[in-house]
């Protein structure tokens, strides 16, 4: 029997421990990187959803958002100005017509406010406030395609009068909460993106107008309705 010389049976233990520690340290960035899309994909999606980052620069502090993507801005007296946010417009793309509620009619917060016409599809949107319509935006009625120009300013939809302004605003999002909500919307959009969209955006190919149409050319209105919280 051989083995009268000392042989260290644990000779490699030191190296093994070092290796394990390095692998564990390596694992942390590996895990983080594999769990989310690459930077290029984020950047590409931001090109398609351009104003993704601009949403954080909310134009006026007094802007309140409804989860169905309408916005409300209280004005003096009991008047609130209402519009649809930039995301909604970018989602749907070119709008052929907008069906406004009648002046003098009543709208209810969280129920159908107006509907958009694009091609053969008609998509409702929810009103962010409840009250009586006192004015609608005639310019927008005549040229609905201009809605993308200034969604928070010139392209307002209508103004309502309601005694319960603060009660209405309480149900809406603003400030940090609004930003958080937008993060969620953005995540949900990203998770819908598939390879084709990524490839098209990476080589700057031709994008069809409207994010929803890029996600699904046939059933894009269903996608839009999902975000606008209508059926």
């Amino acid at each position: 029997m051989e083995g009268f010389i000392y042989s260290d049976i644990f000779a490699t233990k030191g190296v093994e421990y070092l290796l394990v520690i390095s692998v564990l340290l390596l694992f942390i960035p590996f895990w983080r990187m594999v769990s989310r899309p690459a930077k290029a994909i984020y950047q590409a999606t931001e090109r398609i959803i351009p104003a993704l980052s601009e949403w954080f620069h909310l134009p006026a502090e007094k802007l309140y958002y409804h989860q169905g993507h309408g916005w409300a801005m209280p004005e003096s007296g009991n008047v609130v100005r209402v519009g649809m946010d930039e995301f909604a417009q970018k989602l749907v793309g070119k709008i052929d017509a907008i069906q406004f509620p009648q002046v003098g009619s009543k709208v209810t917060q969280g129920e159908k406010g107006w509907s958009l016409q694009a091609g053969s599809k008609s998509i409702d949107m929810l009103s962010p406030v409840g009250g009586e319509i006192i004015e609608i935006n005639e310019n927008l009625l005549k040229s609905p395609e201009s809605i993308g120009k200034d969604p928070y300013g010139q392209s307002w939809l209508f103004r309502v009068q309601t005694p319960k302004v603060s009660a209405n605003m309480k149900n809406l999002l603003s400030g940090a909460l609004a930003r958080k909500w937008m993060d969620g919307v953005r995540e949900s959009l990203l998770s819908r993106m598939n390879y084709n969209l990524g490839a098209v955006s990476q080589d700057g190919g031709v994008l069809v107008d409207g994010i929803a149409k890029n996600l699904d050319s046939e059933k894009w209105d269903d996608i839009a309705r999902e975000y606008f919280l209508v059926s």
Partner: protein
């Protein structure tokens, strides 16, 4: 609740179905590790300095087990041969710097045989007297062939009813108090039969008495945990066809780690999985009750 009961009943039913034949799994002794045999293991001492290569052992073995007579021509030893389905033992000739050395090859009848640990139907068994034997309840899976460090079991591929063929230490003769046929037949006194303990003593005696003649090593004393066939030689063992890299751990020890972990996994995994399932159930219920889409 209903699910738990059904799962329990299912388990109980399975348990009962297993218990009956499973009783053969229970160890017959409480401490299954230290088995005090009523008999000692028998062993054979092969002195390669005495073997002249007459190969009478080959014919005797073939005759005793109704196998065809081996090719006794000198040319048969030109190549190093493995045992075969018709030759349980054979003598190989090695050319060394101390002249020609003849080495008898056969099953080593290990103390802790790999083949016995491998056999899932107990066709390979270590008998109380040390013989490792094969029985016909074999399935022909050939796992014993994979597990044998010496590559001894041979399989009858050409038969529709194949058997495993290997030396049985003439077990049928041993129980009658006789010696193995090869030992009986050897004219040169190269094979000595007795208890393994006696064989090791004899080997040590020869090595000590004729100092310088033998390599100071008994092959099989500790290799793979000890074997029933023991060899002494005048030349280093690797020169006469022995593997010297087999280590002293018995081969069944290598599967021990895995086999011992089986009951632990079967205990821990279900507990862990049901635990996680229960935790995620609460999370799921909470999520569903909040409702709404994102």
């Amino acid at each position: 609740m209903g699910m738990d009961r059904r799962t329990f009943l299912k388990g109980l039913g399975t348990g009962i179905a297993v218990a009956a034949p499973g009783s053969s799994l229970l160890p017959s002794r409480a401490e299954a590790k230290e088995v005090v045999a009523s008999k000692e293991f028998m062993g054979v001492l092969v002195d390669t300095t005495r073997c002249v290569g007459c190969r009478t052992c080959e014919s005797a073995c073939a005759e005793a087990h109704a196998m065809p007579a081996p090719d006794m021509s000198d040319a048969a030893m030109d190549k190093i041969r493995p045992t075969s389905v018709t030759q349980w033992t054979l003598v190989n000739r090695f050319k060394t710097d101390k002249g020609e050395v003849f080495v008898k090859k056969q099953c080593m009848h290990c103390n802790q045989p790999g083949c016995v640990a491998a056999c899932l139907v107990k066709a390979m068994e270590k008998k109380e007297n040390g013989a490792v034997t094969w029985d016909t309840n074999c399935m022909g899976c050939r796992y014993c062939m994979v597990s044998c460090p010496f590559d001894i079991p041979k399989f009858e591929y050409d038969s529709a009813f194949p058997k495993i063929q290997k030396c049985s230490l003439c077990w049928e003769r041993l129980v009658k108090g006789e010696k193995p046929s090869c030992v009986e037949a050897c004219p040169a006194d190269a094979l000595t039969f007795g208890t393994r303990r006696e064989m090791i003593e004899e080997a040590n005696r020869r090595i000590y008495k004729e100092s310088g003649k033998y390599i100071s090593h008994i092959y099989g004393e500790r290799e793979v945990g000890g074997t029933g066939y023991l060899y002494i030689s005048a030349v280093p063992f690797e020169k006469i066809g022995f593997r010297t890299d087999l280590g002293t751990t018995s081969y069944p020890e290598y599967s021990k780690g895995f086999l011992y972990s089986v009951p632990i996994v079967l205990l821990l995994w279900p507990a862990f999985l049901i635990g996680v399932n229960t935790i995620t159930k609460r999370k799921h219920e909470v999520q569903n009750s909040e409702g709404g889409k994102r």
